[in-house]
Subunit: 482 residues, 2 copies
């Protein structure tokens, strides 16, 4: 595959701000859809980065997200590419839909490279045929370099009512057409008509254009946004940048780039592609992504199914027994289960809303939380105590830290722990325990070759994650002066 | 309520051998239905004993069960009545349906008291109106003393196809009729006919007769069983009793007392009653036992229901979110979930069969196991380690014991533990830990006023419950000589 453009002008902008309520109980506030692995081992955002690597030069991929998600995305991409992503985040102070996100990325990139061509990609889609995808991107990038705003259109294979549609007009060149109409999500009848007419394509939310082109279009069709972007541009790289962004974003109306610009502009092109794409918009989408068995069921995890058909069963370690289900979705995680008919998958947000209102932990986080050094699983919580299983990867270490409100008992159950405990340092082996008193600086490290597993029993009046003062951290997390 | 019989001749025989697969995942091999509390705090067998206490003299209630279930039943009844049940078990060497169980109880009781009147009761039914129940029993006992074999018939309030029916004949006296026909579980049409004809009653499986009467009937209608019972009778109380029972039972054909005797006998009476009875035969039965809300749902535990109706949701602490369900059953426990339409509730045994075949823990036991001294919950298991939370009631103590294959770290998180560790004895308080090396005699005791909670981290090559050698136990469990 050959990139005919000036390769160094090609940038990927991955939009990763979604809160992912539609994938509860697998997605949580702290692990939205893009951070989940649904197919295979890579998470959706990792797959997004992997997928474009043949066409985007290393170091030219940027992530638009918010402060809260940055750390987790950083860890995942660091783990994937084994290089630092610290300087490749474009942070939105608040979510205002895609137009402000795209505009912000455009001023960043134009500042870096006035010739920048942006490939705008959602972070949470699945594409089965990466080769076709990359080929479409290169055609789109070439077209973008000629001044077009290019959308990637997906050839429909069913009368889907969950996507927007784009109508193809006259051919611009091989594989590129004028886009002559953006259609909102249609009803069933209309979707069937679009499918039959064959010149409608799904709007994938993937766009390619020069930063300069999109900024010019924003100036014309969204002057208020443009005015804000100009203000931010003046502060780029200075101390005032954060304040400027916050001030501008707080006044913006949420707007999609499709509605705000593309539907109104003339120079919009479409590159149709048929590449096994899904936006994984709800649990329902899994049946187009994962294999189905002879009863037309998708089965994942410890599911026992008797006489069930046409259903999606996405489970983990727990046993789920189902009998006589048809057209249902069952999703099971360590601490929460979802059960609904396939045609109600969109309503999972109603359950998430109730959990959010209750301040329920099951809205915020999973029992197992992944960290750059490994993971922890909350096994039990009680009044004044919390039990965790902690795993530390070989060579990894937690920050040098202390807690003001809890002491910790550690029992090693696998591997060897290097323990820093106040002024002392020693190794603890399986079946050995150690005690970290309150307000004592300590550190846990795996200097061995196999995964370290310890059981931690916390005792104290306050046992939340924010009772931590870090003195040193190899993962660049915020520390206190020592 | 007055018992007109010779009160001391009245005995209750509670049949408690069921394996309770139909209530999975709440019932497990180690906790069949009779050991569960489904309504209120008492378990079904505790309620069965409580319910008859107004009519049966203390000490006249016997339990027919097997060796495996005896310990758990003993603990539950000890906890209920605060007296020892050690000598009130009639053990079946293997399950052969109700006729051998009833016959065995009859020879035991006739041996104790030649005038014994037996009230035979299943251990796992729910009866809302205890007063009516007791009144029916007294009428039945009076009738039994006159030589009848008496069945308690339940007035049907729906055309139930899950029960057997008994037809009423001529009136013997007030509230007592001749039973002139036993009908197997009918089809829908037949059940509707029975309901309409008004002289059919549900066969509750509750019977009252003199031990002598039923033995005479067994002699007549089940001569092989009678012959076996005579052999056992000769060994009662001797060392040979166990061997005799095993030998006789191994050759018996499984048979119900209904089919083996009652359908054939002449002197069968029925005492009809309307007392809010249910045999709790499957999860479906819950909607007749528990209250239903305005959407006609039964809801128990942490369930979030959107647009659901006519369903049974029986959950625990975990969040279960359901959307748009109709006529469904959802049962959720710590480690397993069941989902099926109401009309498939009987098929839960198919799931249990698969789990049994797999040797899955979810067939055998729950994560939390109740013991006379308190309970333990398995929080996590891994290679060479297991984590438990142990709670010990005030005043309770575990046996003096040792393990050959594991050491144990204990961290106290609530209450005060009195620890015997080899030759030493000391108290451990919250946030204190102690270590029990392998093969060291040890004991855990709660000498305080509040529940003791400890976290136990076991390390070793073999971590099963049977690696225990007991030296002393206040609950009379099997011990080694010290």
């Amino acid at each position: 595959m050959k990139n005919k453009n000036n390769v160094n002008s090609l940038y990927a902008v991955i939009i990763a701000g979604g809160s992912g309520t539609r994938f509860w109980p697998l997605s949580r506030e702290h692990t939205p859809k893009q951070l989940l692995s649904i197919v295979g081992k890579e998470t959706l955002i990792q797959s997004t980065v992997s997928r474009i690597s043949p066409v985007i030069p290393a170091g030219n991929t940027y992530i638009v997200t918010n402060q809260k998600q940055m750390e987790s995305i950083n860890f995942q991409l660091h783990a994937l590419t084994d290089e630092s992503w610290d300087n490749r985040f474009i942070l939105e102070p608040e979510a205002k839909n895609t137009a402000p996100a795209v505009g912000l990325a455009a001023i960043y990139l134009k500042n870096l490279n006035p010739e920048a061509i942006m490939i705008v990609l959602p972070s949470d889609h699945i594409i089965k045929d990466s080769d076709k995808f990359c080929r479409a991107l290169l055609v789109a990038a070439q077209t973008a370099s000629e001044g077009y705003m290019v959308t990637i259109g997906i050839k429909p294979d069913k009368p889907e009512t969950g996507y927007g549609y784009i109508k193809c007009g006259r051919k611009i060149k091989d594989g590129v057409y004028n886009a002559i109409g953006f259609k909102e999500k249609p009803d069933k009848e209309m979707a069937a008509k679009y499918l039959k007419e064959r010149d409608y394509y799904w709007n994938s939310g993937m766009f390619v254009w020069k930063a300069e082109t999109i900024l010019r279009a924003i100036k014309k069709y969204m002057p208020a946004l443009y005015e804000g972007l100009v203000k931010i541009k003046k502060t780029l790289g200075s101390k005032k940048e954060g304040t400027a962004k916050r001030s501008v974003f707080s006044k913006l109306q949420p707007e999609s780039i499709d509605y705000g610009v593309l539907e109104k502009a003339e120079n919009v092109a479409i590159v149709p592609a048929d590449m096994g794409w899904s936006d994984v918009g709800s649990w329902h989408a899994l049946e187009y992504i994962l294999p189905r068995n002879s009863n037309n069921n998708v089965k994942h995890g410890n599911i026992i199914s008797i006489d069930s058909k046409n259903s999606i069963f996405y489970c983990g370690k727990r046993v789920v027994g189902v009998i006589g289900l048809d057209d249902m979705i069952v999703v099971d995680t360590a601490d929460a289960t979802l059960i609904c008919p396939k045609n109600r998958a969109q309503d999972v947000r109603k359950i998430v809303d109730i959990l959010k209102e209750r301040g329920a932990e099951e809205y915020v986080t999973h029992k197992t939380v992944h960290r750059p050094w490994g993971s922890y699983t909350v096994l039990e919580t009680g009044e004044r105590f919390k039990i965790k299983k902690i795993t530390v990867k070989p060579g990894a270490k937690l920050s040098h830290q202390l807690h003001h409100h809890r002491s910790e008992h550690w029992v090693v159950v696998a591997g060897t722990a290097r323990v820093t405990n106040g002024d002392k340092s020693y190794d603890a082996h399986p079946n050995e325990s150690t005690y970290i008193p309150m307000s004592t600086r300590h550190r846990l490290e795996n200097v061995g070759r196999i995964t370290l597993e310890i059981i931690e029993v916390q005792n104290g009046e306050y046992l939340e994650e924010d009772d931590i003062i870090r003195f040193e951290d190899i993962y660049n997390r915020k520390t206190e002066k020592q």
